[in-house]
Amino acid sequence: MALSERIARYKEEHVPKHFWKEGYVKPVYLSILRSRAYTKVWKETEGEPTSIRRAKALAEYLDTMPIFIRPHELLVGFYAEDPHALPVCIESTEPDFIKKIIADGNVKQEEVGEWNELLAYWADKGLNKLLLSRLTEKELKLAKADHTFMEVLPTQYTTRSQAEYDLVLENGLNGIKKILQEKVEKLDEARENCVGGREAVEINNKQNDVKAMIIAVEAVIRWANRYSELARRMAKEEKDPARKKELEQIARICANVPANPANSFWEAVQSHWLTFLACHVIEQLSHGTSLRLDQIFWKWYEKDVILDKTLPREKALELMEEFLLKIDELGRPLPLVWRKSLQGNNYLATYTIGGTKPEDGSDACNDMTILICDALDELWINHPDFKFRWHPKVNPRAYERVLELQRKGLGQPSIKNEDIAIATLIDHYGFTLEEARSWAVVGCISPAPTINWGRCRRDAWTVYPAKILELTFFNGVNPTTGEEIGIKTGDARDHKTFEEFFEAYRKQFAWVMRTSARIKTIAEECNNQLCKRPFLSALFRRSLESCRDIMDTPEKGMPWVNVPGIVDACDSLISLKKLVFDDKKYTMSEVLEALKSNWEGYEEMRQDFINAPKFGNNDDYADEVAKKTYAMIAEEMSKVKDINNASPMPSGLIITWMFSTADKVGALPNGRKLGDWLTDGGISPHAGYDRKGPMAAILSAAKIDHRKQKANIFNQKLSPSCIEGEAGFKKFKDYVTTILNLGLDMIQFNVVDAKTLRDAQQHPEKYPNLVVRVSGYNAKFVEMDKFVQDAIIERTQHVI
């Protein structure tokens, strides 16, 4: 399979906002235009209702931003004036964060002065000020101590914007506007008849919010028309007849959508793209795209490609590929100091494919499921990220296509277990079966329904179980700084049994949960007050119904809390139980001394702690402690609430926290030293501590109750020689299916490539368990001689 010439060119020219080393892969800068427009309108509209101010600001930006169409584009529209521009929402971003980016030189130099003026304007009006004035001094101190034991106040307040996009595709924005105008009439009438009281306030609020939604919807229609006009002008001047035709087509499409219902697959994708940019990037920067990409466009795809045959499949593939590359061009700004530890893309666009149909639970796969895999195969990109919903009756062709991509080493789509997702959505969060079956991943790995309860709030935060364990060892004191940041849970040396120590850990954890949930709730409320979402509101049935901004419309809560490094905490507890409480080989005082010294001078003891039982070997002794830890964390989370009064579940997600926390979490009883990475994978065993083999690691993970977790990613490395050929593929498929049948929530494979092997050669300590397998022979890679390793690397490249 090869990319068409158009897409190959587009791929080369597109500007992904990926980090690489200390910069971006291509030059980028922070666009000032949105901040300028929002600030201008804010100054002009003082005293007006917030939702209307926000709608006018959106309109100002969409009406004035310079627009462009690139030479190879079939889909048009961008969030800023230039593909190299990064978006920022000045009102909801921490000022220091923007100042760092300015200091890094990632803004146009002639605009530095204006940036400073804008920052000064928002200093007492932005979200940061709201937070500062609503949290206690102590809460602020804890919340701002990022990456210490919790991360609860994001510096860029990116939200979810999981709109009901089908509303636009089916009705067009004009259809939505019509609904809103009917509401206006009804509200006018209600106002006439109102005798005052709370009802008068309510009616007034509704009138304002509906008016704001109409302003926003009209602004987006005008914006699309600007693209139509531009395409028409460009078509007139275009010499190449083929391109001229395309531009004329683009002009027609943008005149029709998103204003009106989409009539074709091309129109549907174009309509979605503009709608998506306006609500997901421009109105408020969001992350986690949360969409069933093979379902939302299916109706139009089926009509054009399969039934009427008016669109060749290759053309549809090209449109999908262009769409994915456009998603890959989205990005969030980050200061240099963060970029160093975050390589790759940070936009976290995640799409979901496969799964079941909400109405009857039958398999939902279709030719678009496969088309998307074809697009990923041709493009060979790992952003946007895809999840495939597996269930026992899933279409085998789609499943095999996904496995084929995993086997080729793309690392995606990762595979999610349908039953686990549906069970958690129904049992823990109380959604109906039909709602649960409509799920797509929101954020990174967490399932959320896409019907009835689309999300508009950022309903997740993060705590660090390993750091909280460290606080337990030192009675609430952070040993890396000497500061008392936790609560007093007793001198660890006084705990006579493992259970006593574990209870102290539970208390410390419970306190972190209480504190973080409280801060999180107040922060959400601040965001609700300031960042009204008139356009996003128009894309939600429940706000069209309630006539209120979506930020003031009830949402069914579905929070979760990420627990990166949870496996390090489990392993530490296991080693501690074994060597201190059961075997009594060491005392707690010796452990505290060793940890304080970062194991310096305690190497022999450290080796004992490394060699103690660990999670990931299907060893009941170790796995029971891990189970107990997971269960305790889930239980303590169930005692706190988010802004919607819903309780979070733990989510085994790591992203890049393993690097960012490395110098914040001190030495641990699993043998880890300050500065070492934490475990890189939700529920995967710590690299090198899975001493038995891949199957044993899976069996350990299967003992954890995944239905009590929001989501849990399991990463495994596989050697290409085990999965090659038809026979290898069949075994790979059987292997993956067995894992899913064992009840794991989510799996992702790293087929070990030459690059990894080379890294293993340089850093053998990171890969003690990398086994190279050929027939009848097995050996650990790191124990081999260099020239043999070289030979294997050579062969690995050959195989792949």
Binding site: A696, T738, A779
Partner: protein, 311 residues
């Protein structure tokens, strides 16, 4: 070394490996036995030759603490040498292994009961059941070199409902082979060389017994499926002539499947860790074209052939 002095049957096992896919159908566990009647000079698993413990020394993991030298009564530790152990003095007491905290010194071999082995392999049953005829393969070394234990283990595996396979050099008494075959679904049978003298030169033994055993096994009623494997050793048995003769021979026995196992240079580290020389240092895997031509040759006789044993 301390021999196990109990009445309970035990086998000396080198290693049990999960997620094996190259040695039989489906997803399998491999049980590597210690002890082998052959001494093939290319052997991939030299740590399984002796029916005794072995000590391996991995230089890269050594931090030079010197505790092994302190604890060794036999004076067999040579500090600062890449060999580390004077094998002629070593009495296999394993004290050095026990004192080594970084696993630079490691022991090969565990005396295990049938139940203990079974407990390890049974934990992976969901994977055997989830794949097509997945199960357990006995390998080594030569499993039939510990005949009672091997047969008993196979019997118990079978009773536990597992698919069973044996990877064998065929050098055992026919009674042993037959007793094992009764509990086997699959035999992976090595034919290293058709020429008797060459066979003796490369493996230390004649191929007469191996061929007789195979011929007799083929005639038994209810024989398990037999797959022939040829480890291709550069310049020894990977020429067209030997392969053609082997293919003709197995064709005459009506055997349908053949695995050609390309040479690999990986064992060099094991030889080094065991302080042994190896004559195949620097030899490479056969070229793909050569492997393909051998495969074509065998397929011409109607055999199903793999290169590498993944099927």
């Amino acid at each position: 070394m301390v021999l196990y002095m109990s009445d309970e049957l035990r086998g000396l096992i080198a290693n049990i490996q999960d997620y094996a896919v190259h040695d039989g159908y489906g997803l399998r566990s491999l049980v590597f036995f210690k002890g082998c009647p052959l001494k093939c000079d290319w052997c991939q698993n030299p740590e399984t030759w002796s029916l005794d413990f072995d000590v391996m020394y991995h230089e890269k993991l050594c931090v030079g603490c010197g505790r092994c030298a302190e604890i060794c009564d036999a004076g067999a530790i040579i500090p600062d040498s890449d060999k580390r152990i004077d094998r002629s003095k070593c009495n296999n007491c394993m004290k050095c292994v026990e004192t080594c905290s970084t696993n630079a010194l490691s022991r090969v071999g565990n005396w295990m009961t049938v139940e203990q082995v079974l407990r390890v392999v049974m934990q992976y049953k969901p994977f055997y059941d989830g794949s097509d005829r997945g199960g357990v393969t006995l390998s080594g070394g030569e499993a039939l070199y510990q005949p009672k234990f091997a047969v008993s283990l196979l019997k118990h595996c079978k009773e536990a409902g597992l698919h069973t396979a044996l990877e064998t050099c065929g050098y055992a008494s026919y009674e042993t082979l037959k007793a094992a075959a009764e509990h086997l679904d699959l035999v992976l049978y090595d034919l290293k060389h058709m020429d008797e003298l060459a066979h003796k030169r490369g493996t230390g033994v004649s191929n007469k017994l191996i061929r007789e055993n195979l011929e007799r096994l083929c005639q038994e009623e209810g024989t398990p499926e037999i797959v022939i494997r040829i480890p291709l050793i550069p310049g020894y048995n990977d020429d067209e002539k030997n392969i053609r003769e082997t293919v003709k021979y197995i064709h005459s026995l009506k055997i349908k499947k053949l695995d050609l196992l390309p040479f690999n240079e990986l064992p060099v580290a094991k030889y080094k860790a065991l302080g042994m020389p190896w004559k195949y240092i620097g030899k490479k895997r056969q070229a793909d074209e050569h492997l393909d031509s051998l495969k074509d040759l065998a397929q011409a006789y109607g055999l199903e052939v793999t290169i590498g044993g993944l099927w």
